[in-house]
Amino acid sequence: MSNITPEVIAQHGIKPDEYQRILEIMGREPNLTELGIFSVMWSEHCSYKSSKKWLKTLPTTAPWVICGPGENAGIIDIGDNQAIVFKMESHNHPSFIEPYQGAATGVGGILRDVFTMGARPIANMNALRFGDPSNPKTRHLVAGVVAGIGGYGNCVGVPTVGGETNFHKSYNGNILVNAMTVGLADKDNIFYSAAAGVGNPVVYFGSKTGRDGIHGATMASAEFDEKSEEKRPTVQVGDPFTEKLLIEACLELMATDAIVAIQDMGAAGLTSSSFEMASKGGLGIEMDLDSVPMREEGMTAYEIMLSESQERMLMILKPGKEDVARAIMDKWELDFAVIGVLTDTGRMVLKRHGQVVADLPIDPLAQASPEYDRPWVAPAKPPVVLAEDVPAQCPIEALKTLLACPDLASKRWIYQQYDHMVMGDTVQRPGGDAAVVRIHGTPKAVAITTDCTPRYCQADPHEGGRQAVAEAYRNLSATGAVPLAVTDNLNFGNPEKPEIMGQIVEAIRGMGEACRDLDFPVVSGNVSLYNETQGTAIQPTPAIGAVGLLDDVSRHTTIAFKDAGNAIVLLGETKGWLGASLYLREICHREDGAPPPVALHRERRKGELVRQLIQDGLVSACHDVSDGGILVAVAEMAMASEGLIGAALDH
């Protein structure tokens, strides 16, 4: 009696109709290892099965885009034969179970996605969402996540230069930890993951494999229930010291011509990396699992293929280049082993203890992962709420309340736990509209920001999607940088519920419109669904990570007032929109109303105007007006100034 029972299939998160597809693809019943491989490759986290159909509608091209979605990270051209490689990824569920290690391994994973393409990481950011501060677990989660991000990022020596942190009760059972990495590469030395060359060696390097986080990939999209507390020691533990060795060893090897293709082992470890490399290259792969460096005895093929031990990479080398690679890995004291070879069979054949333990076709599995067109319902448009509809309050009292609320209060207590100065190129430190990081040894710099207003996306996902992209565009322009491209991390509830699927469809539609109209293409991203506990979903959070370019870093502008006597100029019309505003929530304790509509053509024109004024040296400070409105914006500019320069709003 085979051990593939309906319970085992369900346990692997595979639906009955999906299992029928597996039987067709295999032409027989899969064994446990093969079933495990299908379950991680077809998990929501790796296959994007619920969102793939809609993600294709996003604009992903522009003259400066070298590589759009589909590779480990997105790549844009910044001239002088240099490229910026960046992406954002989520580690939401592991961080709820073990905040320190969950967040730390999130940082480690996104770093690897960037340097596997040949880029030296030059900056990290993170977008965090926690539950209500009064919730007993929130304090523990915040302390753990921040310590984990700092513990890993500081040790690896990549500056953590900013991010954003929100608090709302919808995240009580589902915190969001989205980590972003920006890297710098030479345009003519970029590495991709498509395998090539039948007979070329398949090489494993980095840390040893253990039983960490098995089923991390499927857990990433499993809705949380009370039982989730039991998913214990299989939590992934990160080793930032080994990651630093991995960065240096990889970049040193990439300076030689030994590498054909390379990919980091992320979610679903050895399975997803080997499958993706083989399928992109249209080749087969044969691996002898006995030669995989292992940390624990008696590991089965199932455990080796599904393990999510951290700090591991897979690469294809040119023939005869094994010794060059081994010498570099020995210098940096990393494990190194040739574990297989490329074949022309188009199949994945795994051996363990001398026997074939898995034999699966690669293309049907890698490419044919299901793509769903789930039913969705567009949420109703909420009513407009304007200033005259809301009881007025003394502005200064309102300002005090707003500045004290967790969303707006200074986040210094968080970012001072992050080394934001290492590598000596941080020109604008955390706390402004965007971080500015110099391109080492050049007069240029990149501006980086993460933005999303979940309140707006809850009220109207379409308008919220537009606003998230527009705010990122404004934050980059406020420093004088030309906005170039976007990465995203789409965090939503359970897509099998039509109203949640409606939020996803509408938010993506809104993001697409803004990216198209602002020439601001999406070059990479990540989707995290099923962020829901006992039926209540998080506020829709399509987090945007954006990068812009400053040709002359000395022209960058900060939010701080510089000299008394400067005129304060407001760009844009004030219509008193209070729907879904922070004012309404923090002062009137209401969370209703429509978010302010975004006029994209005006956003674009204002952005071009602001950048021109900064270019002409006419602007001493610049800040985008967002949460809390004009009064909060001016207060933030005053508080950031040296000598606490005040402001009189009397015209």
């Binding site: 930032p240 000596g424 190129d425």
Partner: protein, 229 residues
């Protein structure tokens, strides 16, 4: 002046120190891998910040046993100038080149921000371009900077005037709030008795360029070039 920067697995401020040295020296320092056993003739050896060996067991404990450290110790005993910054300071105490130990910050958290320091002795090659008693602004970035020494050792350090920098208020006063990590006597950096070895937790190389927010740190590198060229 000829300078060498030691690189341990896990050092991550090695390039930052090399950039600051080059800006003052007008030439690139040598980058020396921790497993080398030879060290060319140099006037200055810099042991940079970072997380050598991941700061595991004790910060700098494993790096202090690296092959190159035998040579660094020999050169220090022979009078070559040695500058240990942050993790470098921890390595020098573990290697016995400087007294005392750097414990976990009193607040237990990693701290990254600017601090004010008072220059306690400007008659050394490291600080000759500062005034004695001058207040400078350097950034710190560490979780284990809490300087400690037993009473006897600490009395010797103070008695010999080996304190190089103390955490202070912007106007040079002393106040618990100005001491970021609980260090004994607000000590931020100390010399050995011969004053040819300096270890400090703050990072002068990170504020050596106005574009990055300040240049008080540059004068330490200028001092060394002036004294050793």
């Amino acid at each position: 002046m000829k300078a060498a920067v030691i690189v341990f697995p896990g050092s991550n401020c090695d390039r930052d120190v090399a950039v600051a040295l080059e800006a003052s020296m007008g030439a690139k320092p040598l980058m020396v891998w921790h497993r080398d056993t030879e060290l060319p003739q140099v006037d200055l050896i810099a042991v940079p910040g970072g997380f050598s060996y991941g700061d595991y067991l004790r910060c700098g404990a494993m790096a202090a046993h690296s092959p190159i450290m035998r040579e660094v110790k020999a050169r220090a005993e022979a009078g070559v100038r040695v500058l240990g910054i942050c993790n470098g300071f921890q390595v020098l105490t573990e290697a016995g080149l400087l007294p005392g130990v750097l414990m976990r910050n009193s607040g237990l958290k990693f701290i990254c921000r600017d601090v004010h320091l008072r220059v306690e002795d400007s008659e050394t090659d490291f600080c000759r371009q500062y005034q004695c008693g001058e207040v400078v602004r350097f950034p710190i970035a560490h979780a284990e900077g809490n300087f400690f020494a037993d009473d006897e050792t600490f009395r010797a350090i103070e008695g010999n005037g080996q304190v190089a920098f103390r955490y202070c208020t912007p106007d040079g006063g002393f106040d618990p709030a100005a001491n970021p990590n609980g260090s004994l006597g607000n000590v931020a950096g100390i010399y050995n008795e011969k004053r040819n070895v300096l270890g400090l937790m703050p990072h002068p190389e990170r504020l050596a360029e106005d574009l990055l927010g300040g240049s008080d740190g540059k004068r330490m590198f200028d001092s060394l070039v002036e004294a050793l060229s």
